[in-house]
């Protein structure tokens, strides 16, 4: 009596909930067991279905299942995460079966999402997908998840902004899609939109990096809040690179979507895992220093002054960087997790504590996390998931990056000749007589504070109701929602004793900042699937609605003239620069999708459209539509038995919302005159009708798997064009505005991505798995409705190289002065493109019995950076090679010629990003060493162990302006990079 659910809603719900499953007269029962091939252990949570049906049974903790089969011969399909699917024929009389599952080395069987609540097996997927296993990213310790993803995703350029503990990381997928808009991918953790905001610390209040607030904020080397997520809690990460895959997220997805699933408990025995890591870091590389003889020193500095530094008639050479960042501090991490569950309840709970100390004294990052994930089968058709996560994340980053006051230690270092002593003597740090605002970086590192503490709570719930499952149709409702709260506090203290503070009218500066963010989102989906009698195809229709509410507010205040020894902002003589900023954004979207799987699951087609409105747009009631159409066709067996070959083609659109406030023309307050407050019209005109940027992308590719699953290959070519770019134009000055926002122009990215895997050796005792990713990207600005222009964070003048955006060129090109014409006007030339020619990574995993060795190499070819660390050293004639012709030529470029050529340097590098050696202890040892334990592993791991590059100074990957769509690759006194080593012990109970 299925038609009964046509009557009103409430009756419908109640009725359907009470409907019995349809039972057929002719049936039989199959029982079976599912085991793992690697050790023969039972496999829980494997899904067993009758071929062609979506509903089936799951194995229990002992790997057992029971499935109802129709009479006659049948075929069952067994699937489990991390294993290859098995297609098993069942004889007409067979009542029992044992199935052995083989590991899926390249994650080809992983399901990939196709909608808010729908997914598809990767072999049918219509777009290029990158799925990373939690195990891969937690093997070698990383400070944050995004760092751990470096080198693992073809098409993604993941770059750290500096080497500081808790430094920002930026992820760019398939090139820049915007010039001044949001450049970050959307992050979704267990269905909750997770804030990855970077909230500036206010460091600029002491470094004076810029008088423009936005430019100053960008130079604070802020932490992006993805750092609050514990990588050890992650089950898998899926990166939606294409606009087709991302279109379900509409105007948040232009920069890609990162979907993170945290671990769930599996039915069966309760497992506990305790792991402990201890390690240390050391300086990876730095600029070196110039050793002076007296002749050279006399030529540069006052001779009497130089003489005063002679020691036994010689000028000493102190390695100031070593004194500053030569520590080998310890780091620790402890994690305990427990997971398990029964038929109805499954859980995963974890707690962790870690501390990574930085190579500069008094710097470091620590994080404490707690997580509880619970899955509850409420009724036979109703499942509830709850996730809660708490994190406290604190870091001390010290004073680095661009500087105009002497605060930044790495900046000031470039001004101090090696013969000046800096170390504390008789309790006093000497004030360098040659230097930058009298700053002594060792004193700054010892006494200054740049602390940030974030408290994070993320919670989500999901209710899944299999309303009705029939022979040919099923209907499911999924409701999900979540909340993400973050509270960040920043404290910057530059005590009055600091020698550079002494040069200020009111020595001693404290900045106190606080911020809190709240993201709420929910979605509701109805998914209907239909298979006709002929079983020739399967259709899945989904309809949904999604709502998001994001709020962020921050405030900050600075006091100068701090009393000695005081750390409260109220202990200052002059209070200045109060800042309070709030942003608020609401988005509502409806979407509809149709998926078809036909021709024996060879053809898959996906079509969807999302319509959404958002409060940040000019017309908050207007709906914007983001469609997608994608298809793939499989040729099973084309490359040999069991092989897979697939062609896919996808088209999709996504958007990028304008930043909050870009639609308003403000009146600027906070100003007084004659004792009264006043407002003036802002010099920046908002765009009342502001539109989202729109990315349209075509993507095509080939996926293949052959040699019995030992080789996999994914090749993708994508071409995306952003239209309605958010831009800023300079109107006529007599209009009274200096800048105006507008939408317009086009920018294109063409990307070639390859992800391949190969198992050269696979034997009982030894397995070697090699994986590689290759990314090549070309960006071109097609047209602009404004003249070519210099973005606000383009650099520090054409004589040092600057970004410049103009039609027909890459948006990330760097131009600079190469000479001057007869009238003295600079001649500029393109000096390179920040975007590399290609990035190639190679990961090798070797497993021999209980021992495994893995390494990850990353090679970046080409690309350039503005190396202003180099220009600082050269302009001050303090580079180590200053005595040579090459060194002198660079000094001349800065001091006499005013040309940028030497300071725009190639960022080609080869890095050994990860190396690990893990030994699983034999069980007899485990029992002897750890009472009650089942297994134990000991690992030696290292990150950033080797770098081969001609790049001068610190790290070819650094960004003075933090996360930027275009103006990355500006290196100006960053926190030095470090190598990290650690010893891990992990014990399972």
């Amino acid at each position: 009596m299925r038609h009964r659910w046509f009557v009103p809603v409430l009756i419908l719900i109640l009725t359907l909930a009470s409907l019995p499953a349809s039972v057929h007269a002719q049936q039989r029962v199959l029982t079976g067991a599912v085991n793992r091939s690697e050790d023969g252990a039972p496999l829980s949570d494997a899904v067993v279905t009758l071929a062609g049906r979506s509903a089936g049974a799951k194995t229990d903790g002992r790997g057992r299942f029971t499935l109802v089969l129709p009479d006659g011969p049948a075929r069952i399909v067994v699937r489990a995460i991390g294993y290859k699917r098995q297609n098993v024929p069942i004889g007409a009389d067979q009542a029992e079966v044992t199935i052995t599952m083989i590991q899926d080395v390249f994650n080809l069987e992983e399901v990939v999402i196709t909608g808010q609540a729908t997914e598809m097996e990767q072999r049918n997927s219509t777009t290029s997908t990158a799925v990373v296993d939690g195990q891969d990213i937690s093997q070698v310790q990383a400070q944050s998840l995004d760092r751990a993803l470096q080198g693992r995703i073809a098409g993604a350029n993941i770059q750290t902004n500096s080497g500081a503990p808790g430094a920002g990381v930026q992820v760019q997928i398939r090139g820049p899609h915007t010039i001044i808009g949001n450049a970050e991918p959307l992050i979704v953790v267990d269905g909750v939109i997770y804030s990855n905001a970077t909230i500036p610390s206010g460091l600029s209040s002491v470094t004076g990096s810029s008088s423009n607030l936005a430019r100053a904020d960008a130079q604070d080397d802020g932490t992006n809040r993805l750092a609050d997520l514990n990588p050890n809690d992650i089950e898998s990460i899926e990166v939606l690179k294409s606009a087709a895959a991302g279109s379900i997220y509409g105007s948040k997805a232009a920069n890609g979507v990162v979907i993170i699933h945290t671990k769930r408990g599996t039915a069966g025995q309760v497992h506990a895992n305790l792991s402990q890591r201890v390690g240390f870091s050391s300086l990876l590389r730095g600029p070196g220093f110039r050793v002076f003889d007296t002749t050279q020193a006399f030529a540069l500095f006052d001779s009497n002054l130089v003489r005063s530094y002679l020691v036994n008639g010689q000028l000493p050479a102190y390695d100031h960087l070593q004194a500053l960042a030569g520590d080998k501090p310890l780091s620790y991490e402890s994690q305990l997790d427990v997971s398990g569950g029964g038929e109805k309840t499954r859980f995963f709970a974890s707690g962790s504590w870690k501390r990574d100390n930085g190579i500069i004294g008094n710097t470091g990052a620590q994080r404490q996390t707690l997580r509880a994930n619970i899955t509850q089968q409420l009724t036979r058709t109703l499942t509830m998931d709850l996730t809660t996560a708490f994190a406290r994340n604190a870091n001390d980053k010290g004073f680095t990056n661009n500087d105009n006051s002497g605060a930044s230690v790495t900046y000031a270092l470039a001004y101090i000749p090696s013969f000046l002593p800096l170390k504390r003597a008789n309790g006093i740090y000497p004030q360098p007589e040659i230097g930058y605002f009298g700053a002594n970086p060792l004193q700054t590192a010892a006494l200054a504070t740049n602390n940030e503490t974030a408290i994070r709570f993320t919670g989500g719930g999901r209710l899944s109701w299999n309303t009705w499952t029939g022979e040919r149709q099923s209907l499911r409702f999924v409701a999900a929602g979540g909340a993400d709260f973050v509270n960040q506090k920043n404290k910057i203290i530059a005590p009055p004793e600091l020698t550079f503070e002494q040069t200020l009218p009111n020595p001693g500066t404290i900045t106190l900042g606080a911020a809190d963010g709240r993201n709420l989102n929910w979605n509701l989906n109805a998914i209907h699937s239909y298979t006709p009698e002929s079983q020739g195809f399967r259709l899945t229709t989904s309809l949904g609605v999604q709502y998001e509410d994001r709020q962020l507010s921050r405030n900050r205040i600075t006091a100068t003239g701090i009393l000695p020894g005081q750390t409260s902002v109220s202990q200052g003589a002059v209070v200045s620069n109060p800042i309070e900023e709030r942003s608020s954004e609401r988005t509502l979207a409806f979407y509809a999708a149709e998926e078809a799987l036909a021709l024996s699951e060879r053809l898959s087609l996906v079509g969807s459209v999302r319509g959404e409105r958002s409060s940040v747009l000019g017309d908050p009631s207007k709906y914007w539509f983001y469609p997608r159409l994608a298809g793939a066709y499989r040729f099973p067996g084309l490359l040999g038995t069991g092989s897979e070959f697939k062609l896919r083609l996808a088209y999709g659109q996504t958007g990028n919302q304008p930043l909050f406030g870009q639609k308003f023309t403000s009146l600027v307050g906070g100003q007084t005159y004659g004792g009264g407050g006043g407002v003036t019209v802002s010099t920046i005109a908002g765009l009342a009708g502001i539109k989202p940027e729109r990315v349209k992308e075509w993507e095509g590719g080939v996926d293949a798997e052959f040699f019995g699953g030992r080789t996999s290959f994914q090749l993708t070519l994508a071409r995306n064009i952003t239209s309605d770019l958010l831009l800023s134009r300079t109107p006529s000055a007599s209009s009274g505005f200096t800048a105006e926002f507008l939408n317009g122009g086009h920018m294109r990215n063409v990307s070639l991505e390859l992800a391949a895997g190969f198992v050269p050796i696979q034997s009982r005792d030894f397995r070697w798995v090699a994986r590689t990713t290759f990314t090549h990207l070309r960006n071109t600005v097609l047209d602009l409705p404004v003249p070519g222009y210099r973005p606000s964070t383009a650099g520090f003048g054409l004589a040092f190289g600057e970004f410049f955006i103009e039609p027909g060129r890459s948006a990330t090109q760097i131009i600079g002065t190469v000479g001057y014409d007869s009238l003295g006007n600079p001649i500029t030339k393109v000096l390179g493109d920040a975007n590399p020619d290609f990035q190639l990574t190679l990961a090798n995993d070797f497993n021999w019995k209980n021992l495994s060795v893995s390494m990850l190499w990353a090679w970046q070819q080409g690309g350039v950076a503005q190396n202003q660390t180099l220009s600082l050293y050269d302009c001050n004639q303090l580079s180590p090679d200053q005595g040579t012709a090459a060194g002198q030529a660079r000094a001349n470029a800065c001091l006499q010629d005013g040309v940028a050529t030497p300071f725009v340097q190639s960022t080609t590098f080869l890095k050994l990003r990860e190396l690990s050696l893990v030994w699983s202890l034999p069980s007899r040892w485990v029992h002897r060493l750890f009472a009650g334990a089942d297994n134990a592993r000991i690992g030696l791991t290292g990150r950033n162990l080797l770098v081969f590059t001609d790049y001068f100074g610190y790290d070819p990957e650094s960004s003075n302006f933090g996360s930027q769509s275009i103006t990355r690759n500006i290196d100006l006194g960053p926190y030095p990079p470090s190598r990290n080593f650690s010893l891990n012990v992990s014990v399972g109970f």
């Binding site: 908050p620 403000s666 100003q671 505005f737």
Partner: protein
């Protein structure tokens, strides 16, 4: 019968729509207004007396925004002094060696003025809509804002001369930029605004519906502001006369009429009476950066102010030069200031904005004051060849401000001698207040009389049109739209 799937699909859609509608009730408002700043939109659409009072204070802030730029930039061009601040090479390169770039030194005294004009026009558009303003308060507000509009244009056109300027700038951002009009038309526009403002102020009742700042003490009622309004009108008429010689008769006569309706006093004790821009160290306010300590490294005065000064009966130089300059300790040899290799020695600083002989960054900067009005009256009389009427005014300033003996000029002296005397007094009376020496030199075709002071130096004749203004009109980065 329809296939069940179709029917159920339709019903399911209806069902979902119903649930969705219920959930939408839980959505917040999508019309989010700016939580951080007041918006222009709100001021124009929903003005109130309180909002407009704050906007009125903002108009003073806007009017003051580049007041110090006018002084040191025009002052550098007139060799009153120089800005030698470390990093800002264009600031001491361009005015001394030329040419003036359209993006650096030469781009100043333009955008800030038009930004305030945007604020002024916004205010003027909002005032008539404010429901809680009386008719008199509206008239007072309009008269006040139109007076400030004129004030915005005065130093701008004084610096650009024949290049002219756009005046009809109250137009949407999307519209084509306002056309350039001639120098004479800019003065005509200024005078038109001032006259209209006077009429509004006259109907403006007894008080402004906002707070007048201390610098307008004595002129802080509508009737009081008319006195300042007329003083500015007199200045505009006098400057228009030199820009447009054919207007001389009318212009100077109108100047004299306006002066008679201004706050001109003729009493030396009132020389400093006038309208001023205020500065303070209160939160949110700005300091008078021109008031620098003697060891400050930004602003320096040139010796020629002393060298060119006439002598007092006792042999001392013009008292104005003595009062307005301060010696830096000449024994301090640690720092030598040079202008592209040319030493600035002996080192002198300005004491114009000192209080009681000490630097005072709260010191006010004059907008227009009595001493200038006396000289404007002298100038108008000279222009009308009423030399006999000009002599007492010249002497009033010479003797009382400069400590100099009375002029030897007689009613029969040649016009050029009167102009020499007038410009000498304007140079010393208005030193480091508005770049009078340079502006006057151009007005009277005497730029060649200003020494370059540096080898291969040059004295640029006028400020250029900024690059942003030219570029928005598709005229490149350097332009002269009127071809003058």
């Amino acid at each position: 019968m329809m296939p069940t799937t179709l029917i159920s699909g339709a019903r399911r859609g209806a069902w979902l729509a119903l649930v969705a509608t219920g959930l939408l009730a839980g959505c917040g408002d999508f019309n989010i207004t700016d939580p951080n700043n007041p918006t222009l939109d709100d001021l124009v659409k929903n003005p109130t007396k309180a909002k407009l009072a704050v906007a009125a204070t903002g108009l003073f802030i806007g009017a003051r925004s580049d007041a110090t730029d006018v002084i040191w930039r025009y002052g550098s061009l007139g060799r009153e002094g120089a800005n030698l601040a470390g990093n800002n090479q264009p600031d001491y390169q361009e005015p001394f060696f030329g040419p003036l770039s359209t993006t650096q030194f030469g781009a100043a005294v333009w955008s800030g003025r038009y930004q305030n004009l945007r604020s002024l026009n916004t205010y003027l558009n909002a005032v008539p809509r404010a429901p809680d303003l009386s008719a008199e308060e509206r008239a007072a507000s309009i008269g006040f804002a139109r007076t400030l509009k004129a004030l915005a244009f005065l130093p701008l056109v004084a610096g650009r001369g024949a290049l002219g300027a756009p005046v009809d700038v109250d137009r949407p951002l999307k519209a084509t930029p306002a056309p350039f009009v001639s120098e004479d038309s800019v003065y005509g526009y200024i005078i038109g605004e001032l006259d209209a403002a006077r009429d509004s102020l006259a109907a403006g009742g007894s008080a402004f519906p906002f707070r007048m700042p201390p610098g307008f003490a004595g002129f802080d009622t509508p009737a009081g502001l008319i006195l300042v309004n007329r003083a500015l009108a007199a200045k505009a008429w006098v400057f228009r006369a030199t820009a447009t010689p054919s207007c001389a008769g009318t212009c100077y006569a109108n100047a004299l009429l306006a002066l008679s309706q201004s706050f001109i006093s003729g009493n030396p004790a009132d020389f400093r009476v006038g309208a001023y821009f205020d500065y303070s160290n209160k939160p949110g306010d700005i300091l008078n950066e021109l008031s620098e300590t003697l060891d400050g490294t930004t602003y320096f005065a040139f010796n020629n102010t002393i060298d060119d000064a006439q002598l007092q009966p006792g042999g001392a130089v013009d008292q104005r030069a003595l009062d307005k300059l301060a010696f830096i300790d000449s024994n301090d040899t640690t720092v030598t200031y040079t202008l592209s290799g040319f030493p600035v020695a002996p080192n002198r600083k300005f004491a114009v904005y000192f209080t009681g002989g000490q630097p005072d960054q709260n010191a006010s900067i004059p907008i227009i004051r009595d001493e200038e009005l006396v000289l404007l009256r002298a100038e108008a009389n000279i222009g009308l060849s009423n030399y006999a009427a000009a002599i007492p005014d010249l002497d009033l300033v010479r003797v009382n401000a400069g400590g100099l003996p009375a002029t030897t000029l007689t009613a029969g002296s040649p016009a050029s001698a009167f102009i020499d005397e007038l410009l000498y007094n304007r140079r010393y009376s208005l030193l480091w207040e508005q770049g009078a020496r340079w502006v006057d030199a151009r007005r009277y075709g005497r730029l060649s009389g200003i020494p370059a002071l540096v080898p291969n130096g040059a004295v640029p004749s006028r400020m250029p049109i900024p690059a942003d203004e030219c570029a928005a009109r598709k005229l490149g980065t350097s332009c002269n739209p009127l071809g003058t």
